[in-house]
Symmetry: C2
Subunit: 145 residues, 2 copies
Amino acid sequence: MRLATKRTRNTIQRKAVQEAIHSLAGQHPTASEVYAAVRERYPQLSLATVYRALHALVEQHAVTEMRVENVARYDIGMGSALSPIACPHHHIVCRRCGRVTDVCASAIPSPLLQAIGEAANGFQVDAHPIQFRGVCASCQVVPLS
Amino acid sequence: MRLATKRTRNTIQRKAVQEAIHSLAGQHPTASEVYAAVRERYPQLSLATVYRALHALVEQHAVTEMRVENVARYDIGMGSALSPIACPHHHIVCRRCGRVTDVCASAIPSPLLQAIGEAANGFQVDAHPIQFRGVCASCQVVPLS
DNA sequence: TTCCGTGCAAACGATTTGCATTAGT
DNA sequence: ACTAATGCAAATCGTTTGCACGGAA
């Protein structure tokens, strides 16, 4: 279990990770993808530091984390002005190519979520992010294997 | 990538795994939890075999697989008569304790899913399973850390 | 008699951590 | 100065795989 520490110092590495996340906004990069992006500018920066910076940024809500098929993916926090969807949103994962698309959270009426919560023994359901699966537009034209 | 093979032989190990899944129905056990259950009766059965059996059973739709926070969890296939919810259903994961609860899929109207798909550049959204997050009834009474 | 399935151990990919060192504050 | 953050390598966790053997078909 990762325990919340101060995490306050503004190091160049942390700034670099934040920049990378911004430059990859909407692409939901994995830690390794962030690492690759960061390395173009700071080749000495280590993967462990990327992980630690990502955790710090998640704690500060500057970055959001999601998990798809065993790997963590990241995106800019909802507060960020650079976000393609700078509001609460859901995620749709393509069952074929694995890409993640955002959808504004307003799509799902909250009475529906309450009903679902009651159907689940009194669960209090989060309004977002809800994770959907499906087939994205580009994969729909590809014949299945 | 795991390629689909014959997987036809009815070994005692495979039957043991299937029984374990049935005895743990509705609990969404991990592979290790299935392993522990199976070992009570067959102490020599290996973890690798549990994984292989689970994959085989998923292929045959006798078992369903889901992923929560980096680990695969399993449940009996929807066709099974022993299922507490023997129909298409969604999953709600408790953000505090991690437990997974099923909710019948009929709760979400399909026009809504279509609208969501269109909002996501023409995604074709699966009717189930949709993964929700929230706080389960028992965790709601526990004060946050 | 085929080969598929098993058990074991080693390999794997993603993530975390211990430790000595560096660098924000 | 104080101490959080870094870089490296080793450790950990869940899962998969190579290989020789055993048991369904």
